[in-house]
Symmetry: C2
Subunit: 217 residues, 2 copies
């Protein structure tokens, strides 16, 4: 299809498609003569993935390119999950390095208490330390004992995630499988956050209603 | 303290402080003469909260102002949680309205299956429908049956969240309580996402190791 059809089918403006081509997010089309380039269904699918990662996943163009590069390597879904993890942006302000380092032992303690096998180089360890530092500075302390029940819930969610990936493992299109891995990791994050917000609303309303019953005036 | 001391103590450049003052994110200081304005500890705390909401929570300046406005209303923590929820950005592309509407019944079905009391006007219903639309377009279908176990985990997390807020309810500084509510809602989201990523890494490594044992070559 021509770039105008690709634009229409994917709902992406032609200028944006050209930008993604220049930035290497989208593989080049097949040139047909000097002025015509043809694109395929894989370009439509890739544009939807880029849109999902940037608009819904909140990734920058650079981070999106890292994730797409990881996806293009022909790995199995579980290995891809690791590569996607390490491509994700986990910004830690360089000026804050010392303060973040102070929180690192709390993260180590949590990982040990959970018996988790997580690389010492995992960027998520530092990102978690940075988040705990923010909370601590705002006077909100979450110790290992407070975090453990959340970690148990995260472990249960991760089992569901990896079950889903393993179910996909016998499919044939490994690139599509790798895309699924990225989607399950990244796009389920907002889904889970939204479910928690709705559950918080329910929990708050339920307790407020209970507090208002005649037995509890 | 002078603005220079506020800058040093909070680690925020003077220009950024002035920007926050202009944008109404930071309450004005106390003028002392024509050229001197004094700031207090509440400004330090507020700057840390702004930084945490923007840098770690990923909120825009406009959304941060909405959340801070909600916090400044003297409500109880549970009510504040609701106000914070509704101030959060849940962008749904106007061009996508019809496609999002198509997913709304799936969200309704999930809320009904969980027996949740969630307002029909909750912005998180539409945001969830938009996320499900993204997944569906990428060929990743999560039906009600797939989402229910995640919703159960979200409900358990929300119980922990609201327990924590209720524990704070007997404290005296209601503004500080309201800040805690915003922090627990917003800043725990990256913490939970990071715990899930670490748990995914652990789960993947554990299964890969299991698959490599001599009994399962």
């Amino acid at each position: 299809m021509k770039i105008s059809d690709l634009s229409r089918l994917s709902g992406t403006p032609v200028g944006t498609i050209k930008y993604y081509l220049r930035e290497g997010l989208l593989p080049p089309g097949r040139p047909l003569g000097a002025t015509l380039t043809l694109y395929g269904d894989e370009h439509v699918q890739r544009l939807r993935l880029i849109r999902a990662l940037t608009a819904r996943g909140g990734l920058s163009i650079a981070a999106t390119r890292d994730v797409l590069t990881a996806i293009d390597e022909p790995l199995d879904p579980l290995a891809t999950l690791g590569v996607v993890h390490y491509a994700l942006p986990t910004p830690v302000d360089a000026a804050e390095t010392d303060a973040v380092d102070e929180q690192a032992p709390r993260v180590d303690e949590l990982v040990r208490a959970m018996g988790w096998d997580v690389s010492p180089d995992s960027p998520h360890r530092r990102a978690l330390a940075a988040s705990l530092m923010d909370l601590s500075r705002l006077g909100v302390e979450y110790g290992t004992g407070d975090l453990l029940p959340y970690a148990e819930l995260a472990a249960a969610a991760a089992k569901l995630d990896v079950d889903r990936l393993e179910e996909l493992d016998d499919a044939e299109d490994r690139l599509k499988l790798a895309e699924h891995a990225a989607v399950v990791v990244l796009l389920l994050e907002p889904v889970l956050a939204l479910l928690r917000r709705m559950a918080q609303e329910n929990e708050t309303r339920r307790r407020a209603a209970w507090a208002r019953t005649p037995e509890n005036p």
